[in-house]
């Protein structure tokens, strides 16, 4: 039962990603400025921008917003 469920999920997600991919084809894809890291093997060999950025330390350092932590006004042990 569990296996079947899993298969269904993987298949379902495949369909879902397929939908994204076809959208990607109809709009021109911007050319990546850096060569794709080898490690990025995307499921449908389409560019997966989420993976591309989140596995690229430099890209993350560039885009991460500095953390603005509002000083907490709490006092004492919570």
């Amino acid at each position: 039962m569990r296996r079947v469920g899993m298969l269904l999920l993987i298949l379902g997600v495949g369909v879902f990603l397929g939908a994204c991919a076809s959208q990607g084809i109809s709009t021109p894809t911007p050319v990546p400025t850096a060569p794709l890291p080898e490690a990025v093997l995307t499921p449908l060999s389409q560019t997966d921008y989420c993976v591309q950025c989140h596995t690229d330390k430099e890209a993350l350092i560039e885009t991460a917003k500095p953390e603005e932590k509002a000083p907490s006004e709490s006092e004492g042990v919570g």
């Binding site: 993987i10 499921p43 989420c50 591309q52 950025c53 989140h54 330390k57 953390e67 004492g76």
Partner: protein, 367 residues
């Protein structure tokens, strides 16, 4: 623990994308959209997909997800049970708003234990998004349970040793708190952590204690009259007078506790039951006051007197030898250890009537 850099919190390891949990692709769980531009990609993003565990984990872990609603980590029902007990139904809406503002950040999702550091310490992936089977004691459990349980267990209070299970046994939280216990609660335990079975019970592992062949007289003499912690715990944290409010400056919720102190207090069991038959347990002062929620309305806890403010406790600093168990008369006849009326604030006397010890056990004549 050095805090994670912003990029470290979100850096994904390549092996995750190939794993059973990553193969589905980011968008399947997090939504958002494919785009090389960060802001565009994040439109409609769900930061913690396991807020809806049924959708993202349920297909494969159906049994765990189905039971999870009963766990106190998911429901935070323990707080509601106690706060409501001191109040009346008309006040529930105002109290719900207060709890929504001040307690929700402690709500724990699957991801908070298995994927990311919990939100109260700023989040961030534990291990490149890989799903960790065993949550890290220090990066997960004590990130939330740090100020009381963690400090006691790990021995962070000066002059007070850590728990023997940590010092000698090198046991982590999970050695006693199994996944199945954290994933769901049964019966009364779904309403409050000390209602229902002891989970765990000391005797699960120390079955010999108190049996006829137990060579330790203190064990056999007292039977089930005393909780184990009465003899085996040492000073632990209590708090007084927590008040919550919303900041006028920032709009953020905040709290103030009037006092935090270490003490060791034996009193009567506020919740005796078949599973917890003790007459005496250790008590800690809960940070509640009649005015705790006054920011949200007047007199929201009209039944303050119904529940003791000195409440059932199970400190995590177990020792074989403690100041109180060194001999019979380090405890018998030693009023300093017991919750006598003079130690209770006058406005809380009524609430604590049933846990106050009127007659401390008499000193045992030395033959």
């Amino acid at each position: 623990m050095a805090p994670l850099e912003p990029w470290e919190k979100v850096l994904i390891s390549a092996d995750f994308t190939q794993s059973i949990h990553g193969r589905a692709g980011c968008v399947a769980c997090h939504r958002g959209q494919q785009s090389p531009d960060k802001d565009t990609a994040h439109v409609g993003l769900i930061p913690d997909p396991s807020q809806d565990a049924q959708r993202v984990c349920g297909v494969c872990h159906g049994e765990i997800v189905d039971g999870f609603g009963t766990s106190l980590h998911a429901s935070l029902q323990g707080y509601r049970t106690i706060v409501y007990s001191r109040s009346v139904p008309e006040n529930h809406p105002a109290l719900d708003t207060a709890m929504q503002n001040h307690c929700l950040s402690c709500h724990t999702t699957c991801g908070d234990c298995h994927i990311s550091q919990p939100k109260p310490v700023g989040g961030g992936l534990l291990n490149g998004h890989n799903v960790e089977k065993t949550p890290s004691m220090t990066r997960v459990c004590t990130a939330c349970h740090g100020s009381r349980v963690g400090a006691e267990y790990l021995g962070k209070h000066e002059g007070i040793p850590g728990d023997v299970h940590f010092r000698e046994g090198r046991m982590n939280c999970m050695a006693c708190h199994a996944g199945t216990d954290l994933h769901a609660a049964e019966g009364d335990a779904a309403k409050h952590r000390y209602w229902g079975d002891q989970q765990p019970a000391c005797k699960d592992c120390h079955a010999q204690v108190g049996r006829a062949d137990d060579p330790i007289p203190q064990h056999t003499i007292h039977g089930n009259k005393l909780a184990c912690q009465v003899c085996h715990a040492v000073e632990y944290t209590s708090c007084d007078g927590c008040h919550v409010a919303i900041s006028e400056k920032t709009g953020n919720p905040f709290f103030k506790t009037e006092a935090t102190y270490l003490s060791f207090v034996i009193g009567h069991n506020p919740w005796p039951s078949r599973e917890r038959p003790y007459e005496y347990v250790v008590l800690r002062h809960a940070p509640v006051a009649p005015t705790t929620f006054e920011y949200y309305g007047e007199n929201l806890l009209p039944n303050f007197g119904l529940l003791p403010t000195w409440t059932y406790a199970t400190p995590h600093n177990i020792q074989r030898q403690t100041p109180q168990n060194r001999s019979c008369n380090t405890c018998h006849g030693n009023a300093a250890l017991f919750l006598t009326a003079d130690k209770v604030k006058s406005e809380e006397l009524e609430a604590n009537r049933r846990v106050i010890v009127e007659n401390i056990p008499a000193a045992i004549p030395i033959p």
